[in-house]
Symmetry: C2
Subunit: 321 residues, 2 copies
């Protein structure tokens, strides 16, 4: 029987409706990956659409960057399970008059991203379409998948790297301005945290997911799946430098902007109380990436985010809001 | 290193260009499925786009049929490897104002198709888009995949069921007419030949693929992959009854129309000379479906198709022709 535990929102209402419509023709929807047991390991699969005009605009990205970004966004779901990347299948479509060289450039971007994650392009499909469409399905393997559902009261809530950069770039572009280089890189060249995810899985992660729709929305999914309440201090959220300027433009506090901005593809991870400063130093030394505690799982349900000790109400990105 | 053996055509030139661009970041492109060895079996994966205005029009298909057809087209690639279906991942996108009920109906169609094939919906993605997009990735398992590359000189070339019905329906619709019910069904409700593919794999099939772009194009891929020449008698091609009317409208012989029309998702299979009338009767009794010999593999390369003893020159569907 289909089980699904997601946070609130019109997009997730649709997914719940689809899960109801599928009934016993579906299984275990709602984690970052579909998980298929093999003899001694678990196969992790996830599929991700990247559509021109919805996920990106041609003015923002080169063909290589379209491919890199689409592949990294999908690979990030493997990272969120703590899985190693075997590879991906890439279905690519574009208008009939797009030159062959652009298809090859998009494919090179996809190939670079999957090679950086340690995998290969395994297959694909090619078609015409009214706009660029890149549908990536990633395949990975793990001995112990880290689902969204394992956080327990008392666990710390942590985030890898810095957030808000991709959202800052989009805000600047939409205002007709140019983002700073770091924010632009966060959007056009996100890195799937595959090795970080594997490390965290080996170091007692109880629940994990990637931040694709923004912490303010994604944290609800982890809370719902784990059956806990998440208390998050946005004062502690590690922000990309460009967030200050973007937040000012839209009249938000930087911490709020960073919680709302999606597509950074950093990992949100619950770790037990025993995960201490020595573990944090090991993580940072191994990956040259920060790991920052931003909150705690407690008994209850839902998410409470505070900034300067005041509760703030935010939602993540929702395609159908 | 990437290996790829496909027939001629602009679409396949693009795929060859992509394979070159990927270099050693890709592996073994060009079969119906990507094949990943497990401990004692092989995992088969394939991804397939179905895009409104390219693969179908809303006037032709109900939402359930959009889902069924997209899923069956993808599942057909598992049939072509002789693999059993574990399930599929479905990425679905449509314009923002499409009602939730239509998403659920598309999903029900997908769920029905994968259930009929013996699998489950394992995961997916949801997005907005300018048109309906359904990207299906299928997952199957087999002990012995039947690739396109195993046909040997002397093997017979066979086809399951009847062909040309889906092409006949599209021809009638584009002419503003209504197709006969059997042709309509061939387009809107194709059946992935999963059990037939498993049976053929167990009964010594040497090479197999599904007819998605039409025999006239697809046979070239099998010939190229196997390093043989295929001699095909279109007089023997089993045709849906609606083909006669559609062929007349476009001024072709029915056998030519049947060879050119794609999207029937029947199987094209090479079987050794020892595969005889008793085997054919067993197949038909087991599946209530015809299995018809249409030609022979010989030494050489390419495809020669004859109709009433005259050679005919045809090509399959090509997105970029």
């Amino acid at each position: 029987v289909t089980t699904i535990a997601l946070g609130p929102g019109a997009e997730f209402d649709r997914i719940r409706g689809i899960a109801r419509a599928l009934g016993n023709r579906a299984r275990d929807l709602g984690d970052d990956c579909a998980l298929i047991p093999e003899e001694s390991t678990v196969l992790a699969l996830s599929t991700d659409l990247s559509i021109e005009g919805v996920h990106f605009r041609r003015e923002w990205l080169s063909p290589e960057e379209i491919g890199w970004r689409a592949a990294s966004a999908a690979l990030s779901d493997l990272a969120a399970e703590g899985a190693a990347a075997l590879g991906l299948l890439a279905a690519i479509a574009a208008p009939r008059d797009v030159p062959a060289a652009d298809f090859e450039a998009v494919s090179r971007g996809i190939g670079d991203a999957v090679a950086a994650a340690g995998g290969l392009v395994l297959g694909g499909d090619l078609s015409t379409a009214p706009v660029w469409i890149v549908a990536i399905t990633v395949v990975g393997r793990t001995e112990r998948p880290v689902r969204r559902s394992g956080a327990r009261p008392g666990d710390g809530l942590w985030v890898t790297g810095k957030v808000g950069g991709a959202g800052a770039a989009v805000t600047l572009w939409k205002a007709g301005a140019q983002p700073d280089p770091q924010s632009r890189t966060a959007f056009v060249h996100p890195v799937a945290r595959i090795r970080e995810g594997e490390w965290l899985a080996r170091h007692r992660a109880t629940a994990m997911m990637d931040l694709s729709d923004g912490l303010a929305g994604d944290a609800w999914h982890l809370a719902a799946a784990s059956g806990v309440r998440l208390e998050i201090r946005l004062d502690d959220l590690p922000l990309e430098p460009g967030v200050a300027e973007a937040a000012r433009r839209v009249g938000m506090a930087p911490g709020e902007f960073g919680a709302q901005g999606g597509e950074d593809y950093e990992l949100l991870v619950a770790l037990p109380p025993s995960f201490g400063p020595q573990d944090v130093r090991s993580f940072m030394a191994a990956h040259d990436l920060s790991l920052t505690r931003i909150g705690t799982a407690v008994e209850g349900s839902g998410v409470v985010m505070t900034l300067e000790s005041r509760e703030v109400a935010l939602t993540g990105f929702d395609h159908f809001a």
